[in-house]
C-alpha cells in the first residue's frame, strides 16, 4: 500500500523536474530540477527492486554526470545576456505536442495490453549486486568489454577535443 503512495510521489516529482528542465530559462535552474528527476527515478528503481541500478543511478547519474554538467555550466560563467533568445519557443512547443501526442497515445494503448502485475518488492536477490554481477560476467561478457573500449575512446576523444591549444 505504501509503495503505491511512494510511486505516485516519485512520479510527480519526476514529471515536475522534467517540466522544470524544459521550461526554465537559465541552464543552471534546469540542471538543478533535472537532478530532482534523476533522484526520484532512483527511488522508482528501488521500488522495482533493482538494487544495483538504484545505487548506480544515484552515484553515476545524479552524482558524477550531473556534477560534471553543473561544473561546466559554472565554468562557462553564463550570464543572462549570453542565453539564446527563444522567440518561437511556444510555437515550436505547440507543434511538437501536436506531433508527439499521437505517438504517446499509441504507446499508452500498448501498455494497457500488458498483464496486470503488482510491483511488489521481490526477495531472494532479484537485482542485487551479486546476481546482476554474475549475469554481467557470464552472459554479457563481450558487451561489457566493448563498453570499456567505448569509455576509453570517449575519454581520449574528450581530452583531444577540450585540451586543444590555440595556435
Amino acid at each position: 500500500m505504501i509503495s503505491t503512495y511512494l510511486f505516485f510521489g516519485f512520479a510527480l516529482l519526476a514529471i515536475l523536474g522534467a517540466l522544470g528542465l524544459i521550461l526554465f530559462k537559465h541552464p543552471m535552474n534546469g540542471a538543478m530540477s533535472f537532478v530532482i528527476t534523476l533522484i526520484s527515478l532512483a527511488g522508482l528503481y528501488a521500488l522495482l527492486s533493482a538494487k544495483l541500478i538504484f545505487a548506480i543511478q544515484l552515484i553515476v547519474y545524479a552524482g558524477a554526470i550531473m556534477s560534471l554538467i553543473l561544473f561546466i555550466i559554472m565554468f562557462l560563467n553564463i550570464q543572462d545576456k549570453d542565453l539564446p533568445l527563444d522567440p518561437n519557443r511556444w510555437f515550436y512547443l505547440a507543434g511538437a505536442i501536436v506531433v508527439v501526442a499521437p505517438i504517446a497515445g499509441l504507446l499508452l494503448k500498448i501498455t494497457r495490453s500488458l498483464p496486470a502485475v503488482e510491483a511488489t518488492v521481490l526477495e531472494d536477490g532479484f537485482g542485487s549486486v551479486k546476481v546482476v554481477g554474475q549475469l554481467l560476467f557470464r552472459d554479457w561478457l563481450l558487451p561489457f568489454e566493448i563498453v570499456s573500449i567505448l569509455l576509453l575512446v570517449a575519454l581520449v576523444g574528450a581530452v583531444v577535443l577540450a585540451g586543444k591549444r590555440e595556435e
Partner: protein, 98 residues
Amino acid sequence: MISHYLILSIILFCLGILGVVSRRNVFIVFMAIELMLNAANLGFVALARLHVNMDGHVLALMVMAVAAAEAALALAVIILLHKHKGNLDTNIFSLLKG
C-alpha cells in the same frame, strides 16, 4: 502496477522530445537527451521486473555507460564551441554544414 511505470516512462520520453524540439540552449537540449535515456532506462527496469528477468538491468547499465561517454564528449564539444563563438545557441552548429 507495472504499467504505471511504463506510462511514466512514456511521459518522460515525450517531455524529452519536447525539450529537444522547443529549446535552443545547448545545455537544455543535451539534458533533454539525457532525460530520454533515463526514460528508456525506466522502461527497461520496469519490464525486467514484469518478467522477473535481470537482462533489463544489464541493458540499463549499458545505457548508463553510453550516457557517461556521451556526456564527456558533448561537454568537450560545448566548451570548444563556447571558446570559438562565445555563444550557446544550437543554431551555431550550422557551421558544420557542407
